[in-house]
């Protein structure tokens, strides 16, 4: 068996059990089946040359999810072609949002409406969508997210607070 075949077999052995999780993770980020498949494909192509490294990772599933998130965020940033900008507190109109707090019953009710949640999620930009999904769905802590996104924890807290505020606002629209 050639070196390539050996590597290909090892790669398949490592990745096959996680393909469903990778697809689900990608889908939650992009919201479309074909784009989710593309994202997973892109990740696999980057991972294959690193098969040896993959073999040394103990918790491959969570690690792979992080790779998908990073790839998604990288793609998003390349696509929008603009530097990251986090408005100062007083610049962010979302800070003044009071709707969710003024309508707790409606908010709670709508937070249970999956389609409405999905539509609200679609209104978030790539960075914030990834943040919300990772935090609310995957349960990553702020410290873990700060490490993944390479952003100070305090900055991330602010971003997360704004992203949730926007999401809740859009739930009530």
């Amino acid at each position: 068996m050639s070196r390539h075949k050996t590597q290909a077999a090892r790669f398949e052995h490592l990745l096959a059990p996680h393909m469903n999780t990778l697809y689900k993770t990608a889908w939650r980020l992009v919201g479309k089946a074909d784009e989710a498949e593309d994202l997973v494909q892109q990740v696999l192509e980057k991972l294959y040359p690193r098969t040896k490294k993959l073999e040394t990772i103990e918790q491959l599933g969570p690690w792979l999810k992080k790779v998908v998130y990073r790839e998604f965020v990288d793609n998003y940033r390349k696509r929008v072609r603009r530097p990251e900008h986090y408005p100062a507190e007083n610049e962010d109109a979302l800070e003044n949002l009071r709707q969710p707090e003024d309508n707790p019953e409606t908010l709670v009710l709508r937070a249970e409406d999956r389609q409405r949640v999905m539509r609200a999620l679609d209104t978030l930009d790539g960075d914030n969508r990834a943040l919300v999904v990772m935090h609310l769905v995957e349960g990553y802590s702020v410290a873990e997210l700060a490490e993944i996104f390479q952003v100070p924890a305090e900055t991330l807290k602010t971003r997360l607070r704004r992203a949730r505020a926007r999401l809740k606002k859009n739930l009530l629209v």
Binding site: R28, L136, V137, R164
Partner: protein, 220 residues
């Protein structure tokens, strides 16, 4: 219930897949407590996102995606190899061209200042042989020979310039120049070689035997 109990209750309800929107135990507290309200909303959003109906990927997606990753990596390696090979080939051609012209006019520069001398016998002639190594067949290559006033080609004594076209087969091509130096002063022969828009030019110093400085000479 206090906040801790409320949150545990929310967790339990969500874990059981129950709706909390109309839970009579929760709403009064949530109306008053912003932190618990945020906690509840976050938990519900997380559940809704996790439970979102998700379209299946296309059939065989997993196997095909893995195979594609492998195939594309191999294709990339092949491309890298051929790019590397091409770069090496270009480098070799460049070296070849340099070699050709160093064979054509060994150690001569292109600023009109001869660095290679052919020692010419006083009042006599000498045939200078130049090897042109063509890495590819050259159609309609144009040669131009320019001579100083005191130099001439033996079979064209009255011409200071000769120009002709020829096809060069691939490999080594020999250009023989039977040269005459008419006096004791130094002369030169300028050789220009053009093909496919490329042009190279250099000159060879013709040094009378008496002025020999011991410099390297080309084949004669």
């Amino acid at each position: 219930m206090n906040c801790a109990e409320i949150r545990q209750h929310i967790r339990d309800e969500i874990h059981r897949g129950q709706s909390v929107a109309e839970d009579p135990k929760l709403m009064p507290h949530l109306r008053e407590c912003e932190l618990c309200r945020n906690f509840c909303t976050d938990m519900l959003l997380g559940r809704s996102l996790r439970d979102m109906p998700m379209p299946e990927p296309r059939e065989n997606f997993a196997a095909e995606a893995i195979q594609n990753a492998v195939n594309r990596h191999r294709a990339k390696l092949r491309r890298s190899f051929f790019l590397g090979f091409s770069a090496a080939a270009v480098l070799m051609i460049a070296i070849g061209v340099t070699f050709i012209f160093s064979s054509l006019h060994p150690a001569a520069d292109f600023n009109g200042e001869p660095q290679t001398a052919v020692i010419m016998p006083a009042g006599g002639d000498k045939t200078v042989r130049i090897v042109i190594l063509a890495v590819e067949p050259r159609q309609n290559a144009t040669f131009t020979i320019d001579l100083s006033k005191n130099a001439a080609l033996k079979n064209h004594p009255n011409q200071q310039r000769l120009q002709w076209q020829t096809d060069l087969p691939r490999g080594r091509n020999l250009l023989e120049l039977p040269l005459v130096l008419r006096d004791d002063s130094e002369g030169y022969v300028n050789v220009q070689y053009r093909y496919d828009g490329s042009q190279r030019e250099t000159r060879i110093r013709l040094q009378p035997e008496a002025q020999n400085t011991g410099q390297k000479t080309i084949t004669s």
